[in-house]
């Protein structure tokens, strides 16, 4: 019995080893030897993004690639057919928003903070001035905006008659009301910030102290159709971009009674700031299922025309289920992009009842090299170069690290070809006109990276194959990235890329970092400044491409903590009053791009497009940036439906 048992176990061991050996491939294909650098997949010449610097480009090569990607999915989708008229059955647009959370349901601009609420609010109400394709203030909105010659005041003139959803006429006094809420001392929202220029309004301090009963810097005309806002200092050039000056009004007649009853702090409690909210946009909130969906009905009195559909149903749907739902014809359109990771699904299933529209997205990630720390001083903290002589301060190291990243691979495999390696520190989303075609990004070139290091003197290697520091000591770099699905796939390859040029980069803590930990230690404080040298972080860019928000020497978001007199000077120039002059601004941006490339402060990672799914029964979906169609509400009034029921995938 015992002998049998033993033999059986031995036999099973043998069998299992046999299976394991068969199932796994040969050893050589997988291992990467850091001692002999492997030159991988070409040096990126295929894109036209090559190291050949004698060629002068008229369009940035990466922009060319990006445009080709966007061409795959048009910015405008047109499905012909007779359009359903108001009153026809089935005249309801069903929109899905890909998301993983529920929305809080605060439908009042002053108190809203979650992005999802913002998207819903966009359908219900809007800013009173429209945006141009460059995201500056335009001329087709409810009001026209004009600036003082010295930029110390701003004037708004209403040009249309507009009514709130309950019929009350809209006036600029409603905008004043919004200002009064936001600047109120009891305000608990997040909008009272310098970026909206609230603190520099004339009379705001007295209002906050309680010594004045209105804000003296807000001057209304007698008929309330003209408003001037006076500032104590000239506005910076950023004020010409959307989202800077606060232009979202709040209905005074609707919410002032609520404030009298509950106070400003608890404004968001009341139903009138939630499912009974009143706006003046194309869609009126009809029913809200808390956290899940909102049913809108068309506003017959919208000043730009009644929407073609009778109802709009807006629902939050999980990322992974959105495309399946589209295939089943459950939704007509996605408000909010389909994540790149789910794009494969679209390709593989090849449904025939919907198409994709795309546009260049506002996402931008950077690979930061921490060359400095924040040192507290009398005004707060100031970025200062490191004092520990770590090799990360060596320009050659940073350039080599940047050129060794094979972003193309990640763009194709992880982001499914919807992005391309970034060609420049600026992003075509908001700064296309400033991108200089000849300031090329950190293209993938292992030979170049190796030669940079060799020329800089990092030729000796230690026993483990990694390069040694100039003084002969071993060097290593700590790398931190937060835990999301992209990083899970990409980070190991970055580490491998760098090991291929002989640099020892290690994951700090051995693993990806949980978001809140990352936030606390990397972004909001300097806890890890001494120890971590390389980070990745992603931002969603705003309308104004000015860099001081992300790179200023006192800004915590300047993750590289980089500073130098030239650097600070360029940033100041872009934000200065001189920058109201377009030529001055262009020149400053040019200097900015060149500096960032030559000094390898941070490596921009990708430029990409965002995709939106559109069912064939939606007559049109136009993402081209034309004035009057920048925002979703402005678009939705033009969407009509060509069939009473959605098309279902018939594959």
């Amino acid at each position: 019995m015992k002998k049998h048992r033993f033999l059986t176990i031995l036999a099973m061991l043998a069998v299992s080893i046999f299976i394991a050996a068969c199932a796994a491939p040969a050893v050589d294909e997988v291992a990467v030897d850091p001692v002999d650098p492997v030159v991988g997949g070409g040096n990126g010449d295929d894109n036209g993004v090559g190291p050949d610097e004698t060629v002068v480009h008229s369009i940035h090569p990466a922009l060319v690639v990006l445009d080709q990607i966007s061409l795959r999915y048009p910015q405008a989708v047109n499905n012909p057919g007779p359009i359903l008229q108001p009153g026809d059955t089935g005249n309801i647009i069903r929109a899905a928003q890909p998301t993983t959370t529920t929305f809080p349901g605060i439908f009042e601009r002053t108190m809203q903070s979650e992005a999802q609420d913002g998207t819903i609010l966009d359908l219900n109400t809007s800013a009173i001035v429209s945006l141009t394709p460059e995201f500056t203030w335009g001329t087709q909105g409810i009001a026209l905006i004009s600036f003082a010659p010295d930029y110390t005041w701003v004037q708004l003139d209403m040009q249309y008659d507009v009514y709130w959803h309950d019929g009350t006429p809209f006036t600029l006094d409603d905008l004043v009301f919004a200002y009064e809420i936001i600047t109120h001392p009891d305000y608990t929202g997040i909008r009272f910030v310098p970026a909206h220029f609230f603190p520099i309004i004339v009379g705001v301090d007295e209002w906050r102290d309680g010594t004045a009963d209105h804000i003296s810097g807000l001057v209304l005309s007698n008929n309330n159709r003209t408003l001037r806002i006076y500032y104590t200092e000239p506005l910076p050039p950023g004020a010409q971009f959307g989202g800077s000056i606060w232009l979202q009004p709040t209905p005074r007649h609707w919410l002032e009674p609520v404030i009298e009853e509950l106070g400003v702090a608890n404004l968001a409690d009341h139903a009138r700031a939630r499912h009974e909210a009143v706006g003046f946009g194309p869609w009126i909130i009809d029913t809200v299922v808390p956290g899940e969906s909102v049913l809108f009905r068309a506003n017959d009195n919208y000043h730009r025309g009644r929407p073609l559909a009778d109802y709009l149903l807006f629902e939050g749907v999980h990322f992974d289920l959105v495309l399946s739902a589209m295939r089943e014809g459950l939704f007509d359109v996605t408000i909010g992009f389909v994540p790149a990771a789910n794009y494969e699904e679209h390709v593989l299933f090849n449904a025939n009842n919907y198409t994709m529209a795309s546009w260049v997205g506002p996402g931008q990630g950077f690979m930061y090299f921490r060359t400095g720390t924040m040192v507290p001083d009398e005004y707060g903290s100031l970025a200062t170069p490191r004092d520990d002589n770590h090799p990360i301060q060596n320009l050659a190291i940073r350039r080599a690290l940047s050129h060794a990243m094979d972003q193309e691979l990640k763009a194709i495999t992880i982001q499914n070809g919807l992005s391309t390696p970034a060609g420049n520190i600026l992003n075509p989303f908001n700064a296309r006109q400033h991108i200089d075609p000849n300031v090329l990004g950190f293209f993938f070139d292992l030979d170049l990276a190796n030669s940079i290091l060799d020329e800089a003197g990092f030729t000796e290697r230690g026993p483990d194959g990694y390069r040694l520091n100039l003084d002969g000591s071993p060097m290593y770099f700590n790398f931190a990235a937060n835990d999301n699905s992209f990083n899970q796939q990409a980070v190991p390859t970055y580490l491998q890329n760098w090991s291929n040029i002989g640099l020892d980069v290690r994951l700090y803590t051995g693993d990806l970092i949980e978001w809140n930990t990352f936030l606390d230690n990397v972004l909001l404080s300097d806890n890890w400044s001494e120890t971590v040298h390389i980070f990745i972080s992603n931002w969603s860019l705003g309308f104004n491409p000015a860099p001081h928000g992300l790179w200023g020497s006192r800004v915590p978001f300047n993750l590289s903590r980089h500073t130098s007199p030239t650097f600070d000077a360029i940033l100041d120039d872009i934000a200065s009053q001189d920058a109201w002059n377009p030529e001055f601004l262009s020149d400053a941006y040019y200097r900015w791009q060149v500096y960032m490339y030559e000094n390898a402060v941070a490596a921009p990672m990708f430029w990409g497009v965002q995709i939106f799914a559109v069912n064939h029964r939606l007559q049109g979906y136009d993402l081209t940036r034309v004035e009057g169609r920048i925002n979703i509400p402005e678009q939705t009034i033009f969407w009509g439906l060509t069939a009473p029921v959605a098309y279902v995938n018939t594959n």
Binding site: M12, A23, G41, F349, P492, E514
Partner: protein, 307 residues
């Protein structure tokens, strides 16, 4: 004649006194022989466990199973030349399965084992000494049971700076020891009221001797049965948490993390090899454990035993 009867009686007495009750193993074997499912399950289970550990040992000492190789991502078995293709990171699924299964089993064994040791110690103490000690201990157990386990685990994992395996085991153990304690205590209480314990106490035997030599062996059957069944529960918990993303970190594969692939429609429909092997393995392991565990339970409960 009389002599023969007496000697026969003596012999009978001798035999009766000298025959020990059948051991656990014998009983178990008997039970198995009559339950085909449990019988097969036992062998399958042993085979799987040995194969997993042997395979994982062999693999991790000879190659890097975890290296990312994005170019190779998502290749089917035909394309990649390997039995089970590659996953979205370009890793070969087959060797990964061994390592992942081993990790899952390790974690389950550890969690169940530790919570059992705690359960035994606390339960026996509580049941044997009774009275105030019992009351206090049970109050603590009650309070701890009231804590919503899942929520706390999620909250604590969100706190943790680093998601190490040790921490994960700690969290799971923290919420499973109570049930064991209750079980052991109930069995201990039952036994303590029995005559043989009282007899020993009257005789003046030391408490520790009573516990270890007399009571524990009688608890063994119940304990073993429950141990095996709770292995399955641990695997289920670990898998569930990993699936949700509250499990182990990036570098530690487990059956749960492999199952994450099933959450995406593309994988579910087009790339069965990324998740199906893990699912089948989980189901097989848990089924086998359950069949074997149930057989053990029948052994522990004389009423249900095969006679």
């Amino acid at each position: 004649m009389e002599q023969n009867t007496i000697s026969l009686e003596n012999k009978g007495l001798e035999m009766a006194l000298s025959t020990k009750p059948p051991s656990l193993f014998v009983l178990f074997w008997r039970e198995l022989k009559h339950d085909a499912f449990a019988f097969i399950s036992l062998f399958v289970l042993i085979f799987v466990i040995v194969a997993v550990y042997a395979g994982a040992f062999f693999l991790t000492s000879t190659r890097d199973v975890m290296s990312n190789n994005l170019i190779n991502q998502n290749q089917s078995p035909q394309d990649s030349g390997s039995l089970l293709g590659t996953d979205s990171n370009g890793r070969y699924v087959a060797p990964l399965l061994f390592v992942a299964a081993r990790n899952s089993l390790n974690i389950s064994f550890a969690v169940t084992g530790i919570s059992f040791i705690i359960g035994l110690v606390v339960g026996v103490t509580s049941g044997f000494y009774g009275g105030k000690i019992d009351n206090t201990i049970m109050r603590i157990v009650d309070t701890w049971t009231m804590i919503p386990a899942l929520m706390f685990i999620i909250a604590m994992i969100s706190i943790a700076d680093q998601r190490t395996v040790g921490l994960f085991i700690l969290f799971l153990t923290m919420f499973t020891w109570m049930a064991r304690t209750r079980l052991v205590r109930a069995a201990a209480l039952q036994n303590c009221n029995m005559d043989y314990i009282n007899a020993s106490k009257t005789l003046g035997t030391r408490n520790s001797v009573i516990i270890f030599r007399e009571m524990l062996p009688n608890l063994v059957d119940i304990v073993v049965a429950n141990f095996v069944l709770s292995l399955a529960a641990s695997i289920g918990m670990e898998t569930g948490l990993s699936l949700l993303g509250f499990g182990l970190g990036m570098e530690v594969p487990s059956l749960g993390t492999m199952l994450q692939a099933a959450l995406q429609p593309v994988n579910l429909q087009f790339r069965w090899w990324t998740w199906a092997p893990a699912l089948i393995l989980v189901v097989i392991i848990m089924l086998c454990i359950n069949f074997v565990g149930n057989a053990l339970q029948r052994v522990a409960d004389p009423k249900q035993r095969y006679q």
